[in-house]
Structures are given as C-alpha cells and as structure tokens.
Symmetry: C2
Subunit: 250 residues, 2 copies
DNA sequence: AGGACACTTACGTGGCGTCAACGTGC
DNA sequence: CGCACGTTGACGCCACGTAAGTGTCC
C-alpha cells in the first residue's frame, strides 16, 4: 500500500492533485491509516490513468466523474460529442491565426496601425458569424438580409434595439399582471413586435421561420451573442410566445 | 457623456465588464459625477474596441493592459508570439481529434474497451512528446535514446529518479552551507550526476548537449512535464551549474 | 414618490498551486 | 531529538456573472 507521496510519484502527478481527486470523488484511496493518512493500492493507478486519459481528451473533472462512475455510460457518444466541441475550438483558433497572419502581412511597415488591424479582425469575426448563421438561414436568405442591412445606420440600430427593449419590458409587465395573451393590450404589443420582425425579414416568411429557429436555439449561441438580446424570465417567455401565437391565428 | 449602462449598450458589453476593466486599469472613464457615477466619452469606444479586439486574439487582460499602456509596444512581435501560442493549442487539439477518431473507428463494437482506447491516446501523447523533443535532439539521436530505453524497466525508472532526487537534495545541502563547488564533496556529487547523465546519453556528447539545451529551456516545457523534475531554487541551481562546470574542466 | 438606474462588496466558477499550522513515523 | 513526511484549511489565479444592500437621477 502506498502513501500519497509515493503514489503521486509513481503516477507523475502532484500530491495536491490526488487530494483534490479524492475530495471530488474521482479517485478514492483504498483505505486510511489510523492517523488518517491515505493509502492507495497500486491497482488504483489504472483508475488514475483513466482519469488522466479523459482529462487529456478535454473532459472536465465533473464529466469524468460521470463517465467513470456510471458503468453503462455511453463512452462512444461522449467521445463523438467531445470531438465536435474540440473541433469547433480548433476551427475558431485557426480562423484567429488566419486573421493574425493577414494583419501581419498586410501591414508591411514597422508599425501596424489599429484601423487596418481591427478591420481585419472584424472581417474574420463577421465571417464566423456568417458561418454560424448558416445553421438557420440559407445563403440566399443571408444575402437578402445583408442587402437590406446596407441601408441600416447606427442611429437605426439604436432605434431598433430601443424598440425591442420596450417591447420586452411591456411584455414583462403584462405577464406579471397575468394579462390575457389574446387580450387587447397583448395583441397591440404583438402587432408592434410583428412589425419589427417584418421590417427585418422584409416580409419573407422563410426568413422568419429561420429567425424563429435561431431564437429557439439560444443555448447554442456563442457567449458573445448572449447579451445581444436580453434574457426573458420563463413566465414572460411563455406569455410572449402565447401572445405571438394568438396574433398569428387571427 | 455616457453613463455606464448607455456606454455598455453601445459597445455590446455588460456593465460588469466595464466596471471590471475600470478596476483593472484597461479602460478608465473620462470622469465621474459628484455621486461617483462613471462618465464615458464616446471616443472611449475606440479604446474599448482595441481591448475587445486583442481579447478576441486571445491575449489575457493583463497582456492587453501592457500592450495598450505602452505606446512603443511592439505589437507585431506580440502578435507573432500569440500566433505561435494559438498554433500550438490548435495543433494539440487536432491531434486529440485524430486520437478520438482512431479510438472510435478502431473499436467497431458497441463498447470501446479501455485498454485499446488508452493505448491509442498514449500513442498520441508519445508522438507529441517526440515532436516536442525534436526541438532539442535530431531524429537519429531520438532513435538512439529510444533504443537504449527499451532495456529500461519500471524498477530501473524508480531507481533513476530516486538517485536524481538524492543528488538534488545533496546539492541543496551543499549550496545552503556555501560549500565550494570545486571542493571535494561537491566534486564527488558531480561525479555521481555525470554518471547518471552518461548512462542516459550512452556517452554521446552531442546527446548531452541536446540534454543541456532541454534543461535550460524549462520555461517552454509543457505543464505536464514541469513536475517531471523538481524545481531547484536559484542558489542551488547556480551551485549545481558551477559544480558541473568545475567537474568538466578537470 | 417610485422606478430605473448607478454604486460597492462579496461569493461562485475550475483545477489545482501554494502557503500556514499542525500531527505523525522513523 | 530532528526531520521528512502526512494532514486540513484557506487564499490565489482569471474574467467576469450574479446576487445583496444601498444610494442617486428623473
């Protein structure tokens, strides 16, 4: 039986790590001495190797705990999911690398100036956003949206976001006082919301359905995009949906 | 002049972020109201955009602070370094992806068993280590080292690391009592150390010079490799180097 | 007067590193 | 007796999110 230090040396990890894994329930020593010293069997090395292997793959310790503590865990499915996660990160990184390369090579002089540099980065970001939006819109739809976006000034942008803010705020008020989603006030609000949607879609119903898919998929939005639209509480969210549904059925 | 909320909305960041950047010295508001409310000029948006752009590239906020607060900072050099860092991470990820793919495809059955899975991952890790070592050794040297490593059992490994532990411990003792690096005790220790080195290099001086380059480059070792060898304090480090130098000159 | 804003303080996140203060084994 | 080893507890890291409690503007 091995003490913490000896086991740590064998495994090539630190003592702190072993204690942490013990506390997290990832790797419990086989027993303790009367004075509470941890005692590991050499066989525990196998378990530790499993933990380290999964960590190398990029799983979090919590995930590793779930994987190793559930004997019928579907490792294959977990690996496939993890593969996708890593792939996304790697693609993101290579796009950043391309941006840096472009920034470095485009500006040949000693000092690269901020405007060009920032412009290049912005382009890459836009491109990435475009790629992301392909999950919800076809390329033609994206083109149409971009086309209408050209007449869109910063002032317009401020107005639009203020209007949406107000719509959400009003919706929350109505939801809080348990108003009828099909009632007069709610439907007046729904009309305002639909007008905003129509302005964005240009009345194209296929774009609107893409927009709905987009909004429903918020959990998969990148972090940066999350504060793009304020989060509604569950009650308001349900109220809003019922309200829009009633509006559509009229 | 804009309040925190208004400025945050314009920039697409949260109020919390602005306060954090203020505290960190990344983006100070232009002034304050008598009641301590932050006031931002619209021009500060440019500065914030710079921060966000550098963040997107993957710089930490501390690095961004150094970059933006030093007017003559060499941005080009920083970008090139950052590119390398990201490139390493991306390569690491794609190698993990390859490993996962291999694990999934090799084991066709429902359950992939641990042995095969771990074996594949280990191979990838070894490969990565090999790649890393190419910075210090030529391919033939690596081959020669691997060849000698074949006769190396786990028990040998334990012995070797115990001997090095003892060598370092003794070196620290000598350094602490300000012993002469060219003195008798130190030179006896140097002889032991040189014997260990010779056992590893097989007496090949070109391998030994690679080994020295490797040790000198500790800052660039991957994190996992850091506890491979204990860190010496500066005094012991200097003593050790002087001791080995004296030994070589004899 | 009330609600929408602002402020500071402080805890939580993950995976440990790194003391500090203390007990134990040889 | 000394010293290497073990233990728990607690803070630090990073970039904020998320309250809680309080003050301010319109």
């Amino acid at each position: 039986l091995l003490t913490t230090g000896a086991f740590a040396k064998m495994a090539g990890v630190t003592v702190r790590t072993l204690r942490y894994y013990d506390r997290m329930g990832l790797l419990k020593p086989q027993g303790h001495t009367p004075s509470e010293q941890r005692l590991y069997r050499p066989e525990e090395l196998v378990r530790l190797q499993q933990v380290l292997t999964l960590k190398y793959i990029g799983f979090s310790l919590a995930e590793i705990g779930r994987i190793l503590n559930a004997p019928d865990f579907n490792l294959r499915a977990a690996l496939i999911a993890q593969r996708a996660t890593i792939g996304n990160k790697a693609r993101q990184m290579t796009s950043v690398i391309r941006a840096i390369d472009e920034a470095i090579s485009t500006v040949a002089g000693e000092k690269l100036d901020w405007e060009k540099f920032a412009g290049i980065i912005r382009e890459v970001q836009m491109e990435k956003n475009q790629d992301f939006m392909k999950k919800y819109y076809t390329e033609e739809q994206l083109k149409a949206i971009a086309e209408r976006g050209k007449n869109f000034t910063a002032a317009d942008q401020v107005k639009v976001s203020a209007e949406w803010d107000d719509i959400y705020k009003t919706a929350k008020k109505l939801a809080d006082k348990n108003a009828d989603p099909a009632g007069k006030e709610a439907q007046a609000l729904a009309k305002r919301a639909q007008a905003m949607i129509d302005a964005f879609t240009g009345g194209d119903k296929s774009i609107e359905s893409g927009l709905n898919k987009f909004y429903a998929d918020r959990q998969n939005w990148p972090a940066q995009m999350q504060n793009f639209v304020p989060k509604l509480d569950d009650k308001t969210q349900q109220f809003y949906e019922a309200m829009m549904k009633a509006h559509k059925e009229k």
